[in-house]
């Protein structure tokens, strides 16, 4: 397809600008020429061309609204349309962040209530809604941990991270100046308690645990893990990206977590927007409340306003208050489902994952064969060994069957990983059809491996050369 620049023609415009109703003082007359730009090299297209361009681009993209999207660890559940509708209300989109609080009581009320509901659901003392995404929430959480020890006058420079962890965990630790040390998994895919015991020391600020972990397994020894960490004066950080697995079943606060970040775009069904925006609220136990980022919402009688008056705060992690409009969607979602609906979501998410696991087990390697939570992780090793077909090939072939591939090659401890997260919004029929496709591909891999390696065959472009892209990077178009 043509680039928007290739459609450009001198003199065309899609959007016009009103004529001036005030005097037009030439900018040169009061802005020195050195401040003014000479050239403005943007596309010049008409509205019809613009609309066709992006409409066609959209048709070259796959979303949840088109089909099953079992991208593990990403919780690609269906995004109810009502949430889009309410978030687009001008009352929610139209306010400036510095609007005086009298103008913004609705927004403040909503944010306040959201903090409360999240606290109830996760058993935490308080939440901040400021972080823009999960990783941003991690950073915020780790910063609070850092501040906590700073205030206590303790110098702890290590953060422990299991080998199953998402890449954002070590990266967040590093971005806070911590040394990250990898904690091994045991044979069941859980925390290796001995290794943990070995690693725990007064150097260790925190263990960043994802529970259920990225293998989709709930940490059976969570109580022991918490004891070990707390016993050494450390804090237990929870990566809540997988919270969809346990809504209404248990609460991180009860399990002993001191900090947890959520991914509203996963657990609470706000659309992923092609990569964002998300929202990454962070909940804390009582001992960390004082370190929450500012501003925080304060209630005075029936009125809400912002306050920066929290001297021990870590400060700010972004401008303004967070991805407000994303929070609106998540709030509507939580209110729609209520307690029972959230619980049912977790139950069905877990049932769906186990169902897929059972059906595919005879066809693909399952390195950790326990009851899983909301996702299951297979390995393509069998296929590699049998016919040289790799997990990438299987993923690409799924595209021809009209599915978005699962997450692949993650978690890193599973070779040729295939990580399937069906989510609770998918029907049995969809799962059955998807499994049938996976089984058909397993057969194809045996009978006609080249066919699988050539996939995808039905897309507007064939398999793309990523090596070339990295070797000769072209990230900006030149005429």
């Amino acid at each position: 397809m043509e680039l928007i620049f290739e459609l450009s023609k001198v003199g065309r415009r899609a959007a016009d600008v009103p004529l001036s109703d005030v005097p037009q003082i030439a900018p040169e007359s009061f802005i020195d020429k050195k401040y003014l730009r000479d050239e403005l090299d943007l596309p010049e297209v008409s509205e019809i061309d613009l609309v066709r361009h992006y409409t066609k681009l959209s048709q070259r993209n796959f979303g949840v609204d088109l089909g099953f999207y079992p991208l593990g660890s990403c919780t690609m559940k269906y995004n109810p349309k009502i949430n889009e509708t309410v978030a687009a209300l001008p009352e929610f989109t139209g306010l400036h962040p510095y609007a005086p609080h009298e103008f913004a009581q609705g927004n403040l009320h909503l944010l306040f209530m959201m903090q409360r509901l999240l606290s109830n659901i996760f058993g935490m003392a308080e939440f901040t809604l400021q972080p823009a995404a999960g990783a941003h929430g991690e950073l915020t959480g780790v910063m609070m941990i850092k501040k906590y020890f700073e205030q206590k006058g303790e110098k702890r420079r290590v953060v422990l991270i299991p080998d199953t962890a998402h890449g954002t965990n070590p990266a967040s630790g590093a971005l806070c100046g911590f040394e990250t040390v990898t904690l091994r998994s045991n044979g069941e895919g859980g925390v290796d308690l001995e290794h943990l015991e070995e690693l725990m020391s007064e150097e260790v600020a925190a263990l960043m645990l994802t529970n259920p972990n990225t293998l989709g397994l709930f940490e059976r020894n969570i109580e022991k893990v918490a004891q070990l960490v707390h016993g050494n004066g450390g804090l237990l950080y929870g990566d809540g990206a997988n919270a969809n697995a346990f809504l209404g079943k248990t609460r991180p606060g009860d399990l002993g977590f001191d900090v947890i970040q959520l991914n509203l775009h996963k657990t609470f069904s706000t659309p992923h927007g092609g990569g964002g925006p998300g929202s990454g609220p962070v909940g804390v136990s009582a001992k960390l409340i004082d370190f929450l980022p500012v501003p925080r919402i304060v209630r005075k009688g029936q009125e809400f306003h912002w306050s920066e008056n929290f001297p021990q705060t870590i400060g700010r992690v972004r401008a303004f208050y967070g991805n407000f409009n994303v929070v609106v969607k998540a709030y509507a979602y939580i209110r729609s489902l209520g307690a029972a609906g959230l619980t049912r979501a977790a139950e069905m998410a877990v049932l769906n994952a186990n169902y897929v696991k059972e059906i595919l087990k005879p066809y693909y390697d399952l390195p950790y064969d326990h009851a899983c939570m909301h996702e299951c992780v297979f390995s393509g090793s069998k296929q590699v060994a049998e016919s040289g077909v790799h997990t990438t090939d299987i993923a690409k072939r799924l595209i021809d069957y009209h599915y978005h591939p699962p997450t692949i090659y993650f978690p890193l401890i599973v070779p040729e990983a295939i990580m399937i997260e069906p989510t609770e919004t998918e029907s049995k029929e969809t799962l059955d059809n998807f499994c049938a496709a996976m089984i058909a591909i397993a057969r194809e891999a045996k009978e006609n491996p080249q066919h699988v390696k050539d996939a995808p065959l039905t897309t507007p472009v064939k398999r793309l050369d990523e090596v070339l892209a990295a070797r000769k990077p072209d990230v900006c178009w030149k005429k």
Binding site: V17, V22, I25, P27, R37, E47, L50, L57, N61, G63, V64, C74, E84, A88, T93, G94, L95, H96, Y98, A99, E102, G106, L117, A135, A171, S172, G173, A174, L175, G177, L217, G248, K249, H272, G273, G275, G276, P277, G315, V317, A319, F320, F324, A332, R335, S336, L337, G338, A340, L342, R344, L351, N354, E358, M373, V461, L464, E466, A470, C476
Partner: protein, 441 residues
């Protein structure tokens, strides 16, 4: 309402396959004592009709202003109707990061085009696929400069948005760097002498903003030279992105990084978010910058196509050694920005001019009010600072008419008593301005 499609029969059949009699068995790994019966203190579930009514009633507690005279990092611009229609295409907004390129060419191409437009607009060679917002983009650029230089100090102009400054401080603290603040000169620009006085061999970078928080344009080239002489990088931020339609971009004045808030490009005010962190850089930093990058390549038949590239910079590959921890970004806001910029094209200049005209008109009218005085003499884009007899009273009077007034600077700059930062965009009509002046007379 919940969104699980399973019927009772579905569940029974699936339980049989899984080999359980009760869903509860699937949660056996959760120690009994931590098992929840029900989430406490939750309001009852709502039908869709009730959710709609609830959200309408919450929205109704807000008061939508008739006019917004505050900019200060978030700008009330007209958003062409095409933007929401196209961003609202479900194929875009219900997708995630385009990891699987062949099924995601739409977003990848759109991001590649966005990167190109941002690079051109900022006068840089490259731009990434987006950061969280302007403030965090600036903070990440600062961390990067420190990392690359191995130096411990970063200088930030006091005329940078105070919240950006605060975010930079937080990131710097976490990373163990020092932040030093450079005061502004009388004309509202950075105090160049103080800057060069504080620049030393331990300075990793200099951060300015232009237009700066007072609306003043900085003279960037000499600042860049000063920084570069000491081997420091220059990070130049901007406030309102539409200024780039008219104002020489920092990339043409020697900046190493241009960062800023992209909200002005087709994204609603949204009470502060989601917004769009812009990060553009010189080509030589391509393998060091944070964030996703869409790159052009070819498929096996030689056809043009797009992929996420240089992923080895990213956390999912490099983990603690990644250039950043960012994963989800603000892709949809970047898409909106790309559509907005393509829609306006060279009209972005006309739009910027219109902002300047309105601002000059408002400024001249306000400066004529008895007791009102313009603070700074440096040239502005669409914001300016004015000192009035009683800032709080002014804003109260405006609020009574449903108008969000100027940003009160005394909160962040105690020396600027009764100083208000006003912003005039194309949304302000002459009749509005005349009305405002009447209110304030």
């Amino acid at each position: 309402m919940d969104y699980c499609p399973h019927t009772k029969e579905d569940i029974a059949q699936m339980q049989a396959v899984v080999g359980i009699n009760d869903i509860e068995e699937l949660f056996a790994n959760i120690p009994e004592k931590f098992r929840l019966k029900q989430i406490p203190d939750m309001p009852p579930a709502l039908s869709e009709q009730e959710t709609m009514a609830l959200m309408n009633s919450i929205g109704a507690r807000n008061k939508l202003p008739n006019l917004t005279l505050t900019g200060a990092g978030a700008y009330a611009h007209y958003i062409p109707a095409v933007v929401s229609h196209l961003v609202g295409r479900a194929e875009f907004y219900t997708a995630y990061t385009p990891y699987q390129a062949e099924i995601s060419q739409g977003l990848l191409q759109a991001i590649y085009e966005y990167q190109t437009m941002i690079a051109r607009l900022t006068g840089m060679e490259i731009a990434n696929a987006s950061m969280y917002d302007g403030a965090s983009a600036m903070a990440e650029a600062a961390v990067l400069c420190s990392k690359m230089s191995g130096r411990g100090k970063i200088l930030i102009a006091r005329s940078v948005h105070p919240e950006y400054l605060r975010v930079a401080r937080t990131y710097a603290w976490a990373n163990g760097y020092e932040v030093q603040v450079i005061p502004y000169a009388e004309n509202g620009q950075i105090d160049l002498e103080k800057l060069s006085g504080n620049l030393d061999e331990n300075t990793s970078g200099v951060i300015i903003q232009s237009p700066n928080f007072f609306g003043c344009l900085e003279d960037i080239a000499p600042i860049a030279n000063t920084a570069h002489e000491k081997g420091a990088f220059l990070i130049s931020a901007f406030t309102d992105g539409t200024s780039l339609g008219l104002i020489k971009p920092a990339g043409e004045c020697g900046a190493d990084f241009v960062v800023g808030e992209g909200q002005s490009f087709g994204n609603p005010l949204n009470y502060g978010g989601p917004y769009l962190g812009i990060l553009a850089a010189r080509e030589k930093f391509l393998r060091r910058i944070p964030g996703r990058l869409a790159g052009q390549t070819v498929d096996k038949d030689g056809r043009r196509g797009f992929v996420l590239t240089l992923q080895t910079r990213e956390q999912h590959i490099r983990r603690e050694k990644a250039t950043s921890n960012i994963c989800s970004n603000e892709a949809l806001c970047a898409l909106a920005a790309g559509i907005y910029l393509a829609a306006l094209g060279k009209n972005l200049r006309r739009l910027a001019l219109l902002n300047v005209y309105k601002t000059q008109y408002l400024k001249s009218k306000l400066s004529q009010l008895p007791g009102w005085k313009i603070n700074f003499s440096a040239p502005e884009y669409n914001e300016f600072v004015v000192t009035c007899p009683d800032a709080r009273e002014v804003n109260d009077r405006l609020a009574n008419e449903g108008i969000i007034g100027g940003y009160d600077l005394s909160k962040d700059y105690p020396e600027l008593k009764n100083a208000l930062l006003f912003c005039a965009t194309e949304m302000l009509l002459k009749e509005n301005i005349d009305h405002i002046v009447r209110i304030l007379k």
